[in-house]
């Protein structure tokens, strides 16, 4: 695309979503009214609690972090021609590795412990991604099956650790002991409760963009994902590129897990990822597999999640009704994506 065409293309992306957002908000208001709430109050509360207040923005940033990292993981995979639906498992694997590292290194200074914890998260996710990566590259096993199966493995591993060896005996639930203070991520904006994870996620978005569009590895990855047989004839080591795409994808998801532990929960908990992996796929598609477009997409998504959550407080909607609202908004966005592509 030329620059003007690219600019035009960007507007073509933005307009339908603005329309979809308007439709979604209208539906939301109608739904709230049906459920007996005050629609105007609900909408005001939604905006205030997600974007219109310091605390709201802080929550939105915190929610953006795992969504953005997860969608970058999916994007990296899609660009390399693999469909990583194991982001949740890789988030958990990264969280487990990060928590373990935090416990083991509890004696060290923060300048050493925190980076080590985050690196452990990257490594944990990378290991989780390397299993489907190696199987796909060596044996041609579909990554879809392997990543889905590993999701279960990771969840059960967390269940074992949080109820077993790392369990916090005082809590009485499936959570581990807290990680030491040296392993925690500092606040970016203490008054709003926003941790520094958003900076890592933004840096990761820039990093993925650089990797994809400014390195030979990224070029070969995209070539292998676009047309493996042409790439092979062009001297691209296709199987290696595809395998590494899954490893790198897992590493990004693992970092998301580490950030959730080190920045938000300060411990490993069951239910650390409320389906971030699936939402990440959606964000990756909405952002047309572009790492920089994933930033606004993830942030908008996070704002919607945070804002609709607040409806419980502002208009006293039950939690299940909030899920209904979220699902409706998602469906509208998906339908928009379908329409934008020109139907089935």
């Amino acid at each position: 695309m030329t620059t003007e065409a690219a600019a035009r293309g960007r507007w073509q992306v933005v307009w339908p979503y603005a329309g979809a957002l308007a439709i979604a908000l209208a539906l939301l208001a109608a739904l709230v009214a049906m459920l007996g709430g005050d629609a105007a109050q609900a909408l005001a509360g939604l905006v205030r609690s997600s974007l219109g207040s310091g605390a709201g923005l802080g929550q939105t940033f915190n929610k953006t972090t795992p969504l953005l990292l997860g969608s970058l993981a999916v994007i990296l995979g899609l660009r390399g021609g693999v469909f990583n639906i194991g982001v949740d498992g890789q988030i958990y694997a990264g969280a487990v590795a990060a928590t373990g590292a935090a416990f083991v290194l509890s004696a060290g200074p923060k300048t050493a412990v925190l980076p080590a914890v985050l690196l452990a998260g990257l490594a944990g996710g990378a290991v989780w991604g390397s299993l489907p990566g190696v199987l796909r590259a060596r044996l041609g096993v579909s990554e879809i099956f392997v990543t889905v199966m590993l999701n279960f493995v990771a969840v059960f591993l967390v269940e074992y650790l949080s109820t077993g060896p790392w369990n916090d005996p005082t809590a009485g639930e499936a959570i581990t002991r807290a990680i030491p203070p040296q392993a925690t991520l500092p606040y970016l904006w203490p008054r709003a409760g926003a941790h520094a994870g958003i900076l890592l996620a933004l840096a990761a978005a820039a990093g993925v963009w650089w990797l994809l569009f400014r390195t030979v590895f990224g070029y070969e990855l995209r070539a292998a994902g676009d047309n493996p047989s042409a790439a092979l004839l062009g001297g691209v080591p296709v199987r290696r590129a595809v395998g590494l795409a899954l490893v790198a994808s897992g590493a990004l998801a693992g970092l998301a897990g580490a950030v959730e532990v080190s920045g938000f929960h300060y411990r490993l908990i069951l239910g650390l990822s409320p389906g971030y992996g699936m939402m990440a796929i959606l964000i990756a598609v909405l952002s047309r597999r572009h790492p920089l477009l994933a930033v606004p997409a993830a942030m908008g998504f996070a704002a919607l999640l945070v804002g609709t959550d607040s409806l419980q407080r502002s208009v006293g909607l039950p939690a299940s009704a909030v899920f209904v609202v979220q699902a409706v908004v998602l469906l509208v966005l998906l339908a928009t994506e379908g329409v934008r592509r020109g139907g089935p």
């Binding site: 695309m1 030329t2 065409a5 569009f213 400014r214 390195t215 030979v216 590895f217 990224g218 070029y219 070969e220 995209r222 070539a223 676009d226 047309n227 047989s229 042409a230 790439a231 092979l232 004839l233 062009g234 001297g235 691209v236 080591p237």
Partner: protein
Amino acid sequence: MSAPLVRLRGVYKRFGPVVALDGADFELAAGEIHGLLGENGAGKTTLMNVLAGLYRADAGDLEVAGRPVSIREPRDAVRLGVGMVHQHFELVGHFTALENVILGREGSGWLRRERLRREVEALMERVGLAIPLDRRVRDLPVGVRQKVEILKALYRGARVLILDEPTTLLTPQEVDALFASLRTLVDAGVSVVFITHKLQEVLRSCDRVTVMRRGRRVVTVNRQEADPVRLVEWMVGTAPPPPPAREATRPGSPVLELEAVRVVDQRGVAVLDGCSLAVCEGELVGVAGVSGNGQQALAAVVAGTARPAAGVLRIRGRPAARHGVLDRMGAGVLSIPEDRLRDGILPRMSVAENVILGRHRLYFPGVRYDPETSRRLARHAIEEFRIVCPGPDAAAGQLSGGNLQRLIAARVFHAAREREARLLVAHNPTRGLDVPSTEFLHARLVEFCGKGGAVLLISEDLDELLKLADRIVVLYRGRVVAQFPKDQFDRYAIGRAMTGGVLA
């Protein structure tokens, strides 16, 4: 003979600038097996697709059973009793054979299904074709799948059965069985059109033969009047070879050597079997042959995307059988793939990113990829090879076929300059191109040879080979069956070798 069952007269069909049918005639008598013979691109399949309703003719008359008819879509053809079995079957793999035969008429409920089953069984009995009705089609061998296709056509009421290259995918035993079943079908009242380019099959199985060349009928004869010599003459014509584009060169040392190379495909079939040939510096060797005789495997094994199961492959004197694409490129091997969309183009990536493919590691030996370098190379390529596109950043998938081929040519010939390329493998490089593009590409090939490069030109266009090659080898059933040096070029002899005809 009484009035023909099917008569096609003066059928014209154009695809863009290409004239596929140029006033073709054809008659099928009731109760015969009629061979439709011709080289690739002669118009056989197009003509039958017109009869089967897949294409609409631009002009021409169609008659079935003596009555003028208009066939606008496949449904019309089915109603008139015309059924076609295509080269690539159209079956649903995870349905059973029975479900495939009755597809579209299955209805609901067990009773109906039982009745349909009895109908199909009765049909099998009547035409002498037996298939395991309850096996899933994907588990059946190719020969049986073909029977499923034939039964499907007959079940829909076909009295005229068109088979497009039905023996291509079959083993010799399956071919024998097919011919036997065709006879039984004819006895049961079906008339058969058998599209092929293999002489032996026509002589073995057909009652009459129509030979087509360049979109027209050359002749229709009874089998008794046909012999291999005359059939080949009719197929390839007797025109003198086109004037050579270049003087014969004195070749240098061998660049590519194959000795008894065997390549096995995914189905376990040997697609190259005992193939031996050599190409020397400054030499352009043409590989003639009817498609499907090992050309793809030959291109793949030389480019490095397929590994030989047996035999010796040397590049510039060094054994290279186990080397991959990158090693081949390092040794100076370049290739123009046959299927540009499948093997040549990254459709969602830009023209610039496509132009640099294969050379990217040469330009970017380190970590960084510089899009500006790719754009610069692409602008150069667009200008020199006159690629029509919005610019270096346009998605390659939007380009037309001819422009894609120019893009690939730009990539290859630029790489040839930069890398001191020694060997170029080109597979049907000018198929579908207009005359200026073809001339342009030919000039590049000749130029490459003139600088000492070796070219292996695999082409189904015999005129192209006669014009360009120093030497022509003929590939038949995975091996080189004949060789012709430039002073012995003879269209007829080459054509006979291509069709597996007995060599005098």
